[in-house]
Amino acid sequence: MEELIIELKKQIIEVLNLEDVQPEDIENDAPLFGEGLGLDSIDALELIVMMEKVYGIKIKDPSAGKEIFKSINTMADFVSKNRTK
């Protein structure tokens, strides 16, 4: 799980082009959207594409992203349970 968490942080930084953010700056429990990292609905769509590309998980309902992308921990949990690659 620890490995997946670091991998996810690196993916997020790359996909969302978060210059000046290091993986260690993102807390596992902190909210990614609104407060915390300050991401928005377009970032959520980018993460949905990333989930399909990297982990083979297809998310059909954009509003499902709200729960899945709450924090790094919820993302890691979701990925580990649903990944197909």
């Binding site: 210059e19 980018e46 594409v49 590309k53």
Partner: protein, 732 residues
């Protein structure tokens, strides 16, 4: 305001190829939404509102065999033909008739088919220059040969509504007696996939304002209205169909793709339209809503309607359940639907609606016939919260024009990022001269202006545009101008290319939503508005080499009319390495002896408020073809020309300059290069030298070694010898 007559109209959409077919479909509540038939795409699962004609069918109907054409231009020609016929304008080359057309897709249908050819071979070169929005308008204008001016607006889904607004301002300001306005847009793989990447397409028939709505269905079409002064209509003996009695545009300034929860931009746009029309909310008998069927739009628009109309909400319906969302054409497609409703006394149905949504309007589900309508409102909202509202009324008695004194219009400050040192006037004393065929902009430290988080999705053009705008807002102490008007010939070409590249090489899956969102031309104006919290007027022109000039004209007219007091006008274009190589290979730029192909941003603040300023703007004129300068120029100390070393280009400037014998000639493209927006840099430079009252010797065309005193200057610019702009500037 004095009502503007609507003396002609034409329409093509999924529910009909003309007004009569459209009326029948509306009265019978027939949807044009169906499985995909004409567009070749992997996404067969999305129902769409296609125009039920192939490109060949349309060419046959038009009686043309010419190529290149684009699907958007063919639909546009059909609708224009009907509009001109109905206003008895066909073949009338003796009148001053202008064309303002909205599109965002432009020639993308061909670009997405031939993109890989453009990069590697010469098979499809004829289509390369049909890509941009302006090219589509020119293809249409050329067919009819009667227009004296043409320009194009690109603000995504409000484009056609904004074209109607410029047309109305051209008439109100006395510039024109007849303006043909509207928009055209075909469905492409590019934006079908783009909307899919944003996850806002419904897999079933769309259901605006319904509890179960799950997105929009794309549509396509074109529609044009003929706007005319009452005097001209009387003189020509043409019976008005209705009037355009009010209009307004405002910016939500909230998010690039989402609308705010309380619909602030929509509310302000509707309020402006009512105010201009001199009407109260209770005077409106029907609202044709933007109503796309996305969860977000319908909530936001409902709130805006509730705020404006309170307990007097008139019947509301969205006709997108029948036509699909015709994107850039929707403003005029729905304006023509409103026109038909007024003329034939009915309220169109909100097709697809069954179940009320939470906190939403309850639309008219069935057609209501035999209703006397006097005033109807038509809403169109685009990406970036670009919100427009129009009011059409039955032909009413004229309230009479109130003549107001024409104010002086000042350029208060101006700046640039180009091949020269950025954000300063160092070029006037230490110009950077270059000999390479391709020079990119010299960028400032963007991080000093924008945080990494807010600029995470911005390409180079967006950062340049924002920073030049911020600099001018800061220098003038005007953080929230009444209007933000941008000109861009190609828009955000870097993001467009990235999305096209992915689409053409990787297929129609897992495309990056950011690339699509950032590819729309209005991204720039909306980013400036979001950054500054600017809820005022907001629009974008995309008409080849006169995009910036068109933006300047728009601001100039509104300042002259007294509708606004401050306007930020910007010009922005980029030249990516791959686009440069395509243009160079096809001989369009980059030959020896020519100035460099460049990219640049210029921003300037215009105001009618007296105070310190660079110069004043006396006149802005656009025309198709070379105008007679003596008619309006008067005596000038210099003429600023866009010589670039290409014979065809320079010959036109020689023709223009020859009309003013003995007037010293200045040039600027050896400093700022050649690109769609170089005219913005030329005007910036002209304003700066008028501030100083003299032009540096290195800008003189005659090689003189002295500075040249300048108090009144004519700036001229042309695009491919077709569109010409003339701007008169005066030292204060």
């Amino acid at each position: 305001m004095e009502p503007i007559m609507i003396t002609g109209a034409g329409i093509v959409s999924a529910i009909g190829g003309n007004r009569a077919e459209t009326l029948t479909a509306l009265l019978n509540r027939q949807t044009g939404i169906a499985p995909l038939h004409y567009l070749k795409t992997a996404h067969r699962e999305f129902p769409v509102g296609e125009v039920k004609m192939s490109d060949e069918d349309m060419k046959q109907r038009l009686g043309i065999t010419q190529e290149p054409t684009t699907r958007t231009s063919l639909m546009g020609m059909l609708a224009l033909q009907e509009a001109l016929d109905s206003a008895a304008l066909t073949g009338r080359k003796d009148l001053n008739v202008m064309l303002v057309s909205g599109t965002t897709v432009g020639g993308m249908d061909k670009s997405e088919q031939y993109y890989l050819d453009y990069l590697s071979n010469d098979d499809r070169n004829a289509y390369i220059r049909t890509h941009d929005c302006g090219a589509t308008t020119e293809l249409m204008a050329q067919r009819f040969g009667l227009f004296t001016m043409a320009t194009s607006i690109s603000t995504a889904c409000s484009s056609a509504a904004n074209a109607i607004i410029l047309g109305a301002n051209l008439i109100r300001s006395g510039r024109a007696e007849i303006v043909v306005v509207g928009g055209a847009e075909c469905i492409t793989k590019f934006h079908l996939n783009g909307f899919n990447s944003l996850m806002i397409l419904d897999h079933e028939q769309c259901r605006p304002f319904d509890a179960t709505r799950a997105g929009l269905n794309l549509g396509e079409g074109a529609a044009y209205l003929v706007l005319e002064t009452a005097a001209s209509a009387r003189r020509r003996g043409v019976q008005p169909m209705a009037t355009l009695s009010g209009y307004g545009n405002a910016c939500d300034a909230f998010h690039q793709t989402a609308s705010s929860d309380d619909g602030e931009g929509a509310y302000l746009a509707m309020q402006k339209a009512l105010r201009l029309a001199g009407l109260q909310p209770e005077d409106i008998d029907y609202v044709n809503a933007h109503g796309t069927g996305t969860p977000n739009n319908d909530v936001s628009e409902s709130q805006a309607l509730f705020r404006l109309f309170a307990d007097k909400l008139p019947p509301v319906s969205s006709t997108k359940g029948m036509t699909g969302h015709t994107t850039s054409a929707s403003g005029s497609v729905e304006a023509v639907i409103c026109l038909l409703a007024l003329q034939h006394g009915f309220i169109p149905a909100n097709y697809g609606w069954k179940e009320p949504m939470e906190n939403g309007v309850v639309p008219v589900a069935q057609v209501q016939k035999g209703v006397a309508l006097r005033h109807v409102m038509c809403n169109s909202f685009g990406f970036g919260g670009n919100d427009s509202s129009l009011i059409l009324s039955t032909a009413a008695s004229s309230k009479g024009r109130q003549q107001q004194p024409t104010p002086i219009i000042y350029i208060k400050a101006a700046t640039q990022i180009s091949a020269q040192q950025p954000l300063c006037e160092d070029w006037m004393t230490e110009p950077v001269l270059f000999s390479e065929p391709y020079v990119r902009s010299t960028d400032p430290d963007f991080k000093a202006w924008l945080s990494p988080l807010e600029s995470r999705r911005m390409g180079k053009i967006m950062r340049r545009a924002l920073v030049t705008a911020m600099k001018v807002m800061q220098d003038t102490g005007i953080p929230q101008p009444d209007a933000i008007v941008t000109g861009t010939g190609l828009g955000c070409i870097e993001n467009t290319e990235l999305f096209l590249d992915q689409l053409c090489r990787e297929g129609e899956e897992m495309l990056k939503p950011t690339y699509f969102m950032q590819s729309t031309h209005n991204t720039i104006s909306s980013l400036i508005a979001i950054k500054g919290g600017c809820h005022g007027y907001n629009t974008t022109y995309s008409h080849k080499g006169i995009s910036f000039d068109s933006a300047l004209l728009d601001a100039f007219l509104q300042l002259q009319l007294g509708d606004i007091r401050t306007a930020l006008v910007t010009g922005n274009d980029e030249m990516t390495p791959s686009y440069f190589s395509i243009l160079q290979r096809t001989g369009y730029v980059g030959a020896p002896g020519e100035v460099a192909a460049t990219e640049a941003s210029a921003a300037m603040m215009l105001t009618t408020e007296p105070g310190e300023a660079l110069c004043s703007v006396e006149d802005v004129r656009l025309s198709l073809g070379v105008p007679q300068l003596a008619a309006f120029v008067g005596s000038v100390d210099a003429i600023m020309l866009g010589y670039n070393g290409q014979d065809d280009n320079d010959r036109i400037y020689e023709t223009l300059a020859a009309q003013l014998p003995g007037v010293p000639q200045l040039h600027y493209k050896h400093l700022f290069g050649e690109g769609y927006t170089t005219s913005g840099l030329g005007l910036y430079a002209s304003a700066q030298l008028l501030k100083r009252g003299q032009a540096p010797a290195f800008m003189r065309c005659d090689g003189g070694s002295e500075t040249l005193p300048v108090n009144r200057l004519l700036f001229v610019n042309h695009s491919d010898g077709q569109d010409v702009s003339c701007i008169l500037l005066k030292r204060l």
